[in-house]
């Protein structure tokens, strides 16, 4: 390696060679289709879904991958106060200018190359004038700002996610506004040109602070009174399990309520500002209700991480592994802490939203919606539907927090990375396909007819996988017979209650009851939760 720049480039290339290789193959496939199959002719897409499937979704996924790679986001703890820039690089004999500049140069170049390759090799609809320069500059700006904002140390946990989302959304909003007003290419370039240098200056300053451990801590502002007195007053834990729940709550549990508490005021402000516009009130209300579940997807990455450190180590730390607790108790503590986390986050949402609706005068719009539902399906059914929807939202938030637990608990980096890749690949297929299917009445009708069979097949697969996991748990003695029976009974009871509630809401003439039972079986988490202790056992006793 002849220079530090080459060494850092080599590290990116070496670590992510398979991802870059996949990107290269994708470009080659595009080039072959464009030049060999189509012979350079324009191609008329039947609709925007086909175009999205062929160009937009793969490009977006690749861009997100580039973003994750060049911010070091795949290894770092996004919710942490400390910079996610790898601390090991701080000890290199390089200036902070170089430490910020080199990865930013590579990231921006990769993003620009991605756009240019997509622009020239991608198959675009006929008659569309696709710009060349400014989207490349936008992609580079987004990468540069994400790097700067994620490398920055923050005074509160979780603040990084909020600041980054808000800032990038603002940048997007400016660009969308400019497009709306049909800004010319030179104007777009003028708007975007300062961003990369500005982001570089911010990143350089952030790394200078991070490098000397300059991380402010506002947590103490929320700690009232004398710390020594508050610490000493606490009674001992009643049991080891309670202590572990406290540990998990302190490690990860507070992140979701904190994120919700930071974002919620901005959303509630919309209710004050637009309380007279019914459409915006309803949209804002829906966004508020979806906020905990969406934010939970970000927090889930840290919850499922098996080690306490924010480094790229995937193995279980000796401090936790050597606790005299069974694998089930360790997983149980995580589940309880996440339940508590979801409940606290939702308590915040419910209390704050009800209060805001009342004070802002936006409540009648929502109440009108409830009255409409009551008139449509009857007051009892409407009440049941609302309660069930609320429970489903809370459960969904919790499910988001724990659904990748088994992957994280396995402690294998390759599992986490392959799972992420598989999820993105699946989304790339499912999202455009679903849009395409919903547009076709014939396909929808066929799907509706086949729905019981599809659901039945999925139930069979879920049951078979769950049985295999139960057998493995039993064979490895990870779960006792009693715990297995109790867990199975609890799961069955939840499915029965959910089926009954669904049956009460949806009459049999609309949906057959056995279909509702299938839906309940598929909705209640089983496989991934059951696999978590098995994954932990695999990780803890390597």
């Amino acid at each position: 390696m002849r220079s530090p720049a080459a060494a850092i480039a080599w590290e990116f290339r070496r670590r992510h060679r398979w991802g870059f290789l996949a990107f290269g193959v994708y470009l080659v496939v595009l080039a072959v289709i464009k030049f060999a199959v189509l012979g350079g002719r324009q191609f008329a897409f039947r609709d925007e879904q086909a175009f999205a499937f062929a160009v937009v979704v793969p490009t977006t996924i690749t861009f997100l991958y580039v973003l994750a790679v060049f911010t070091f986001g795949l290894d770092g703890d996004l919710a942490a106060r400390e910079s996610i820039y790898p601390a090991r690089l701080f000890t290199l004999p390089l200036s902070s200018d170089a430490l910020a500049g080199l990865p930013m140069l590579y990231g921006c170049s990769a993003a620009a190359v991605l756009w240019l390759a997509t622009r020239f090799l991608g198959i675009w609809p006929a008659g569309v004038n696709v710009p060349v320069i400014w989207p490349a500059l936008l992609a580079a700006s987004l990468v540069a700002w994400t790097q700067a904002l994620t490398w920055m140390p923050y005074p509160l946990r979780g603040l990084r996610v909020i600041v980054t989302i808000l800032w990038l959304s603002s940048l997007d909003a400016i660009v969308l506004a400019a497009l709306h007003f049909q800004a010319s290419e030179p104007l777009m370039l003028t708007i975007l040109a300062p961003h990369v240098p500005l982001a570089y200056l911010v990143a350089r300053s952030a790394l200078r602070r991070a490098r000397c451990g300059d991380v402010a801590d506002w947590q103490r502002l929320f700690t009232r009174g004398d710390v020594s007195a508050s610490v000493k007053k606490r009674a001992p834990f009643a049991s080891a399990s309670r202590a572990q729940v406290w540990f998990e709550w302190r490690r990860h549990g507070q992140s979701l309520p904190l994120l919700v508490a930071v974002l919620l005021p901005f959303e509630l402000a919309m209710l004050f500002l637009f309380h007279e516009t019914a459409g915006i009130v309803v949209e804002t209300f829906v966004i508020i209700l979806l906020t905990p579940a969406v934010l939970a997807t970000f927090v889930a990455a840290t919850v499922s991480k098996s080690t306490a450190s924010a480094s790229d180590a995937y193995t279980l730390g000796a401090f936790t592994a050597a606790r005299p607790l069974s694998d089930v108790a360790l997983i149980g503590a995580k589940l309880k802490a996440t339940i508590l986390s979801a409940l606290v986050a939702w308590l915040l949402v419910i209390v704050a939203t009800i209060a805001t609706l009342k004070v802002s005068g936006a409540a009648p719009v929502i109440l009108d919606g409830a009255h409409w539902l009551a008139n449509a399906i009857g007051p009892l059914r409407a009440a049941l539907a609302i309660v069930l929807a609320l429970i489903a939202l809370i459960a969904s938030t919790w499910k988001q927090l724990v659904q990748s637990l088994a992957i994280g608990m396995s402690g294998r980096a390759w599992m986490a990375k392959r799972s992420l890749f598989a999820t993105l690949a699946l989304l790339a297929i499912v999202l455009p396909s679903s849009r395409w299917i919903t547009r076709s009445k014939a396909l929808m009708a066929a799907l509706w007819t086949a729905l019981p069979w599809i659901l039945g097949a999925l139930v069979c697969i879920k049951t078979l996988v769950a049985s295999w996991i139960a057998l493995r748990l039993f064979a490895k003695r990870v779960l006792s017979d009693r715990t297995l029976v109790i867990a199975a009974a609890c799961w069955s009871a939840t499915v029965i209650v959910l089926s009954a509630a669904l049956a009460a809401i949806f009459p049999a003439v609309i949906v057959r009851h056995y279909v509702l039972i299938f839906i309940a079986i598929l909705a209640v988490p089983l496989v991934r939760l059951a696999a978590a202790p098995l994954a932990l056992d695999w990780n803890r006793h390597r």
Binding site: V231, K232, P236, F237, F247, A318, F319, A322, P324, H541
Partner: protein, 305 residues
């Protein structure tokens, strides 16, 4: 030793990481109520062995029993009787010292609050300080506190004093001595700081390249090894090959041998060289010298004992 009396029994334990054999048919017994020193160079396999004892690694072949139990099959039964402190000492940085104590005591029904407070004061740990703000030595003391405060039946120390200052190392050694002298519990102490092991261990196992090269009571090891300096009338680039000399150092006229056996035999051998060699110094070999002789790179040709 009857295996039922042993705190730890390791039988024919082999562990491979890819192509590298980290442990190669290791067999070991650690008696109850003693201090067992585990010594070896970096990468010899000490930490791998200790991780098997903790159940953090599953035996690929062979078996590990701690108090007669399998640490992988029964982690709670085994870990609840072990106090563990490692060089890594991965204590959660976000906890305060008092929170660490409160958290750790929940796992140990036999936790001794008075002893814990006594240790905290002895180690001068401020209860309200966060772990991340402690120095390396203070972190080691905090780790030692939670490992000792419930008076575990077995104390596992994996290079606990590596990289620490002499005062913290003394605290650790004193804690081991106190544990044994006062309570007769078992300690397995891994280190490459041999003077520490020599201070506290009553049984030593040397491990090299994943194999046990020597395991015996410390007294027996020291009594059976001598450090003998010989003066040669004629300078010699290579000392003579003598059976039971584990290693030669020095030259060209004065060579020091680590010799396993009765030094009278060596004296007879020297006399046999027409008076050209004589023994000028003879003392008990230190554990450090024995370790280097047993597992170190040979400086000159020597015959393995």
């Amino acid at each position: 030793m009857d295996s039922s009396d042993a705190a730890i029994v390791v039988s024919q334990l082999t562990r491979r990481f890819g192509a590298k054999t980290a442990l190669d048919s290791v067999t070991l017994e650690v008696a109850r109520g003693g201090v067992h020193g585990l010594v070896g160079a970096n990468g010899a396999g000490k930490t791998t062995l200790i991780k098997h004892i903790l159940g953090l690694l599953r035996a690929q072949s062979g078996a590990v029993r701690v108090f007669g139990r399998d640490p992988v099959a029964d982690p709670v039964g085994v870990l609840s009787r072990i106090g563990y402190l490692s060089e890594e000492n991965e204590l959660p940085g976000w906890m305060r010292v008092e929170e660490l104590i409160r958290y750790s005591r929940a796992f140990c029904p036999a936790w001794d609050d008075v002893f814990a407070e006594e240790l905290r004061q002895t180690f001068a740990l401020d209860a309200t300080t966060k772990i991340r703000n402690l120095s390396k030595g203070q972190k080691a003391r905090a780790g030692l506190l939670i490992a000792l405060a419930y008076r575990p039946e077995l104390l596992l120390l994996d290079e606990p004093s590596s990289g620490l200052d002499p005062i913290v190392r003394r605290d650790i050694v004193n804690a081991v001595i106190r544990t044994i002298a006062a309570e007769g519990r078992t300690v397995l102490f891994s280190s490459h700081l041999l003077d520490e092991v020599e201070q506290v261990a009553d049984h030593v196992t040397m491990i090299s390249g994943g194999k046990v090269v020597l395991s015996a009571p410390l007294r027996a090891i020291k009594e059976s090894h001598r450090s003998v300096t010989m003066h040669f009338a004629t300078p010699t680039a290579r000392p003579p090959q003598i059976e039971r000399v584990l290693r030669w150092d020095g030259g060209p006229q004065e060579w020091t041998a680590v010799y396993r056996g009765d030094v009278a035999e060596l004296r007879d051998i020297a006399r046999g060289w027409n008076g050209t060699a004589r023994i000028v110094a003879d003392r008990e070999a230190s554990l450090d010298e024995i370790f280097v002789a047993r597992v170190g790179t040979r400086a000159t040709a020597a015959t393995e004992a």
